[in-house]
Amino acid sequence: MTGRALLHRLGQMLFVLWVVTTLLFFLFRLMPGSPLAAYIDTSMTPEQQAILMHQFGLDRPLHEQYVLYLVNLLHGSLGYSFIYKEPVGSLLLAALPNTLLLTLSSLLIAYAFGILAGAFLAARRGTWIEAVSLPFVLASRALPEFWLGMVLLAIFSFAFGWFPAGGATSPGASFPNAWARFTSVDFLHHLVLPALTLAIFLQGLPLLLMRSNMLEVMQEEFVVMSRIKGLSEWTIIIRHAARNALLPVATALALGIGSSIGGNVVVESVFSWPGLGRRLVEAVSASDYPLAQGAFLMIATAQVVMNCVADLVYATLDPRVGQR
């Protein structure tokens, strides 16, 4: 990709983000329900309501609020959360690392397993192994995550007591810094069950994608050619076919990373994981506009950026794409 093409791509990205920002701004304000609903109390008077409206900036005309929001955004400020009374940025950053570690580790497990198992199943086409394992893969994709999570909890936490049932660290745990926390045995111990649940849910896509690509690639002439050359079957599968079949999986992974920023509401709720997904739900249900806008904007940014990354990766993996 040339420098100009890259600039063009960046320009597109910014435009998309501006559209998203605008949509989010108006969408949340069109939503029924006022942020003041959270403040209803026997003692609330109209004067106090007015104070709150003024303080939230909701007494200004909508277009003024919008311009102010954009200006603040350009200054890097996402505003203050109505319910938490703290800067949206720091609220999101408090939950983001937990979410990223959970989703990225499960993506890693899911894609490593999915790619290998997909290639393997393609090689075993038509055998009893395929007949037995495919239904399992399909079933694991269809399983509701909360159900799977509850089953894992019932077995590994409540029956065997091997893993804790909720949270990211033990009660009262304190760490000198974030790095010490994320690399502690305690954190990893808490991470196992939610990551496993999410990985089981996620592995179906790369596995099936890999398998069907492999089946296609295995029919191509260069594979036939390799066979004629007398290469071993595994050499053909791993070194020649799998590399070609990986392309769509790489795209799926990039998009998967993008969407993982938003967290996973279901898994986070089942395992009481202190992540972004639940914070998002709270923000929306309390009509906390700044927090909800900030969170969705962050998710959208991650998606757009990872989309771009996927394109770039594609160009690297498949030189034909870049030439066009």
Partner: protein
Amino acid sequence: MRATHPTRRDVLAGASAALAVPAIAKADTAGDAIRPLNLIARPQAVDPAQYQAAQLVMQQWRKLGLKINLQVMPPTQQSTAVWMNRTKWDMTTWEMVGRPERSDPDELTYSLFHSSLAPHGYDFVGYINPEYDHLAEAQRAELDRDKRVALVKQAQMVIKRDQPYVYLVYPRRSMAFNTDVWDPATVSEEAGIGIRNFWTFLQAKPLSTQKDMILNATQATQTLNPVHMDPIGSWVTDMIWDHLVRVDIHGNPINWAASSLTWLDPTTLEVVLRDGMKFHDGTPVTAEDVQYSFEMPQTPGKAPQFFPNVVNIDKVTIVDPKTLRFALKAPQSSFLTSTLSKIAIIPKHVWQPIMQSLAGTTQTAEDYVEEKRIGSGPFRFVHWHDPEEIMLERNPDHWAPPLLERWILRTVSNQEATLGMLRNGEINFLAIFTGDPQNVADLAKQQSNIKVVTTTDLGFQYIAWNLRRPPFDDAGFRRALSMAISRKLMVAAAWNGFAEPAGSCVSTALPFWHENDSLLEGGDLSKAKQMLAKAGYVLAGGELHYPAGKREEITSG
């Protein structure tokens, strides 16, 4: 449109004559058919019991010939619809939650039904009755306890007569703890609140090496601020910051940071402070701090939530280093509970600079996020790992130090997992449970070391109707509809037995204040029909009509 009504009604009236309630006047003397009425409710997933109650209520009222539509809305939308557009709704499910300061009946008795609060305040149903206003004001000013009880009970009977709400139930809530960890004799049940209360946290005695109380909360805490109330955060702030008075387990105010309280006259209260109190930073609690604690929320616009609690205070003067005098604008019988037990004692040397920095900005004291939270309460703030946990530790320098070492509040979103965690020791105190209470009861049956305590709540569940809109402006109509609803059925079918029938805003959890005769058992459909007929309503063509001459003036939407 309207011109065609009589003809249609006449035709239908003949056909339904057999179905009509006996002794009903002829249909041609009736008014317009009552429009389809809307009942607002929260989604089933948010509150299954309340949703079920709405369904049962609709079933009964349809049998009276009413058309009822259910409008399901998420909580914030419901609040907005009911609160901010006061003329635009018909009926809604609603609840009043129990808080310790509501153990004095004043707040609910006054705020819910006093006509001054109808336009914008808590009388959102628009109940206006001078007779009631008089009783509500009289009980507020009455300092003689027995006389006040009589007034509060009288007020409840007026409400029974007028039925501005369809009271349904006082829910019963279950909390539990591990008896291997906590001595059951030291866990106290507070009337209307349950075992999750200040006294339990203060007195719970550890029986093993586990000296940390680990509790669950269903949602993340939003704020930990002494002048802001938060559904979960208030459990925490109540322990970090002390109060002059605290509400005891029977719901009565008792001296706490105050060693004595003396009414010099109906509007002057003299308070003597306890000796040797210290803030967590080591500085002594002085009369200046206490004075400032009550003056700060009076700053216009800076502490909106607590402002109403101090609005009746004219002046707080310091008599000597241990003694203060509160001068009130008007006599207020609930002053100890609604103000002294509610206002946190804050250090002046911390908050005065904060307030100075906030002056002239839109930021309020409620929004200020402290790094160190300095109070003088029996627990000290340690950390808040948002959104995972909040941790406090015992304050050994307090004059009534707790027995437990650390108090750790964990956010546990998965209700079913909460019970598993209680069983395997990840938590040792179930502070809140929003799932089916039967599951908690079952757990205690399986595990001998889990004790469940179920408490009738101070709060209550009800259907509110908009008294500004016909037909709800007619007390006769309201009484009849209320008569059709069986409270016993509500308890059994909607709350699975975990509730008590309700008849007034003063819960049975407060037997001292509760009027037993306020309960309308209901469930008598034929009586309800008779009452409607007596009030002039006519059932014709399966539809209930207004009394003769009355027009439907609201188009249903």
